[in-house]
């Protein structure tokens, strides 16, 4: 069973909202898993990403959004993909 209220709100929720939320959560969980696996501290990660502590702090406070460049740098430092795009050619 599902709450009727939840079902009604979900039906009214734009698809793009759900995609955004799911992808954000996927990235959070993925980065957490990779950091845990690597055993990096915040300071170590900042150093490896060549970022200033103040910049990291802005992320921590939630005042800066992540950019594709940052994600790419993180992928390089963590040595594993965080997001991936399908490569197959569409006919």
């Amino acid at each position: 069973m599902r709450s009727k209220v939840a079902q009604e709100i979900l039906e009214e929720t734009p698809e793009e909202t759900r995609i955004f939320v799911r992808q954000y959560a996927d990235i959070i969980v993925r980065i957490n898993d990779l950091l845990r696996q690597k055993g990096y501290t915040q300071k170590e990660l900042a150093e490896k990403m060549d970022k200033k502590p103040s910049e990291i702090n802005k992320w921590l406070k939630g005042t800066h959004n992540i950019t594709l460049k940052t994600l790419a740098k993180m992928e390089a430092v963590l040595g594993a993909p965080i997001i991936s795009v399908p490569h197959e050619r569409l006919s």
Binding site: V5, L10, A25, I31, N32, T63
Partner: protein, 186 residues
């Protein structure tokens, strides 16, 4: 400041009931006062979805609960990292528990309180919530009493789990009353 009256607020006579059991990774429960027809989680979502200012945030929060937690990941630490005494506040906060960089949902206006059953990722109890209008729960008028109430619910439920008044049915990912009943009246 919390008054004695608020601290002494008692949580008695409520029903623990399923809110959603259709997702693949988690069963969600909620609480309903014995004399109420609506459960606390429905009250939260209904109230804020009706307000245009909070409609989008309500939809995002519901998607986080049902899509990301329920369907994709379960109640993992990365998504349950906003520790608020006896309960967890949703959405997850910008900074993860292991102190690394997470920066999502900055300044999110709503909080929904939740409890992971014995820190499991597949059984979550959702309560009510409100608007986060100040830096603390205590300072947020709409949130303060809901938070205190959620903590009281959580304490009562955790005590019942500890005493064996509520048991976990592993096969069906359900909570049951000690006599096997689905109806859990606390």
């Amino acid at each position: 400041m919390v008054t004695n009256f608020e601290i002494n607020l008692k949580v008695n006579n409520f029903v623990l009931e399923i809110w959603d059991d259709e997702t693949s990774r988690c069963t969600f429960y909620t609480v309903r006062w014995d004399n109420s027809t609506d459960n606390e989680t429905d009250k939260f979502f209904k109230k804020f979805h009706q307000k245009s200012l909070y409609k989008k945030a309500t939809q995002e929060l519901l998607s986080l609960v049902l899509d990301s937690i329920g369907e994709d990941h379960g109640a993992v630490d990365a998504l349950f990292n906003r520790f608020e005494n006896d309960v967890i506040g949703l959405p997850n906060k910008g900074k993860s528990r292991i102190g690394e960089i997470m920066f999502f949902y900055p300044n999110f206006p709503l909080r929904l309180y939740a409890l992971r059953v014995i820190n499991r990722t597949d059984l979550v109890i959702l309560f009510n919530g409100g608007i986060k209008s100040a830096s603390t729960n205590q300072g947020s008028d709409d949130l303060r009493l809901r938070w205190i109430e959620a903590c009281q619910f959580a304490k009562r439920i955790e005590q019942a789990l500890q005493d064996g008044e509520i048991v976990i049915d592993e096969d069906s990912r359900r909570l049951r009353y000690y006599n096997g009943d689905d109806e859990i009246f606390l």
